[in-house]
């Protein structure tokens, strides 16, 4: 287990965590401000990936693919908010789960109708398809560095937006005490709409960025949704800072678990045991992390409502 391997896995964990954060940020805001459990958030991520792949194929421009994907998914988010989410705000969590679960069912069939049931591949921007030397003796795929850069930039942008702009103040006010914000004259329906569309665009950004390194297929949204829910529950629902910490924790723990646990177990157990228990324990690690966090901090690491 060399130092370069560890460094490489750390970068992988960072990359995964940042992408989780992009999706988690939108979900945690929608949760914190609208108080809506939106299980269809993963479908927005899926939509972003499909639109990006289609645009990339048509134009061969990666930048255009990312922009178009964010805009189109933002529009989809706009429609979903106006048609469904707006009516679910006054309902209980169960009705919200049912309503947004219906969106999942519909979204998965829509993408299958348009793009077929087989996974869609998205090509990388040609200039970034090779590896680069980031240390004298360490190669790392250039595209994954781009993912990290975009993720960091988006996180920074979101941080500045939330802490330094007037709209950001309203978002924070809405998250910490919705009723008070309403009484202080915040135009809540507009705020809701803005937050939902922003969340959709961030999820689409993650979908477009991860498109070239994953198989784009129906159902990809539900897989990532569970991980993202784990992130925001660890961080504390409604808190962007919590979502950031939670996403990085999940990214690192999951990547490290998959990379090192089987090797680590071989030191203590027979190879047969290690090779069968290792992957399971790795898959379990984030859930164990979440359970432990919730046992000691039942409202997550950074509760948004004080």
């Amino acid at each position: 287990m060399s130092a370069t391997l560890i460094a490489e896995q750390l970068l992988n964990g960072l990359q995964f965590g940042l992408m989780l954060f992009l999706i988690a940020a939108g979900l945690t805001l929608v949760f914190g401000i609208l108080d809506i459990l939106n299980v269809a958030h993963g479908s927005l991520y899926m939509a972003g990936a499909y639109v990006a792949a289609q645009t990339m194929q048509a134009t061969q421009s990666f930048l255009l693919a990312v922009v178009v994907s964010a805009v189109v998914t933002g529009l989809v988010g706009l429609i979903i908010e106006l048609v469904l989410v707006r009516r679910l705000v006054v309902r209980d969590h169960l009705a919200q789960v049912l309503g947004t679960f219906a969106i999942i069912l519909i979204a998965n069939d829509v993408v299958k109708m348009i793009w077929g049931p087989a996974p869609v591949m998205m090509s990388m921007p040609a200039a970034l398809s090779g590896p680069v030397h980031i240390l004298p003796n360490m190669l790392y795929p250039a595209y994954r560095l781009l993912i990290i850069a975009v993720g960091l930039a988006a996180a920074l942008g979101l941080y500045l937006f939330v802490t330094r702009t007037r709209a950001g103040v309203l978002v924070r006010a809405g998250a910490s005490n919705r009723q008070m914000a309403t009484l202080m004259g915040v135009r809540v329906p507009l705020l809701f709409l803005g937050v939902f569309v922003l969340g959709a665009m961030l999820a689409a950004l993650a979908g477009a960025m991860l498109g070239p390194v994953t198989a784009i297929q129906a159902g990809m949204g539900e897989q990532i949704l569970i991980l993202v829910l784990v992130c925001i529950v660890i961080g504390g629902i409604g808190s962007i800072r919590g979502a950031f910490v939670g996403a990085l924790l999940v990214g690192f723990v999951d990547t490290a678990g998959r990379a090192f646990l089987p090797t680590l177990l071989k030191i203590f157990f027979s190879p047969a045991v290690a090779s069968s228990v290792g992957p399971t324990l790795a898959a379990l690690s984030i859930y164990i992390l979440m359970a432990v966090v919730l046992v000691f901090r039942p409202a997550g690491l950074f509760p948004a409502r004080g």
Binding site: V39, V97, I104, I106, D109, V110, L294, P298
Partner: protein
Amino acid sequence: MQSLCARLPWLCLVCLIVFPLVAPALNLDFYVSFVRRVLIFALAATSLNFILGYGGMVALGHAAFFGAGAYVAAILSTQGLQQAWLGWPIAMLVSAALALIVGVVSLRTRGVYFIMITLAFAQMVFYLFISLRQYGGEDGINLSAPLQLPGLNLADSTTSYYVVLAVVVGCLWLMNRVIHARFGQALQGIRENEARMEALGYPVFKIKLLAFVLAGAVAGLAGALLANHNLFVSPSLMHWTASASLIIMVIVGGVGLRYGGVIGAVVMLWLEEVLRLYTDYWHMPLGLLLLAIVLFAPRGLAGTWTSFAARFSKQGGPA
């Protein structure tokens, strides 16, 4: 109208009893097995409705207990234990023990955090069974023969239909008794106002935990029945979407209504079966229907029926 409503469950029961006898004549043989599966899922959904509807506990991990029961029955069968009267209670016990562990930890949390922690435990159980290579891992296990009851041949489709029917009806009756007993009333009190029940001196945590364990045990029994029905179990029984679809059944049927779980299971499985006949894209109409239910039938189908019947009897029924 009122009397029709009260008699409707009995009418359904009579239909269910008669159904296998007339099915061959109507060329509906295939549906005997289908109805049996619906009954099993109705039991699982009702056990979830017990904690979700009456206890207010939104558990997104119920499929773990369901699947664990199925696995226990299957594993016992591969070990040569073929007696259902022994195997089914063991499945219930294992699921109950699992629910006890999950419940002790999860019931400390509230709201969304409770949803998530039950999900976390269910995922743990899911991955645990995937890692059990000696029991098929991801591929699951086939049962060579169903668990048997003395004097009955459960490999026979009709016989096993009646056994499932008897078990399901018995469990529904028992759960209904529990709900109307002092324990069930206290449980509903906790759903309405936990702090007040605590102040009145009820052991709130113990009541919730006991309800959670009971529901887990019943789900385990349903799982054991499903293992017999499919002669196959796999970890996909415990995938989180299986837990979600049980919740969906309960919401569609009617949360906290006596036949909510049953109606939800019937409607969802039947729709799935019918829509599949017509299109590969059967998820879409199902999704649209769920949207319609959310927007226009907030209390689920059973709730809508009840309020419809109440209005009808007020207007047109005999005074």
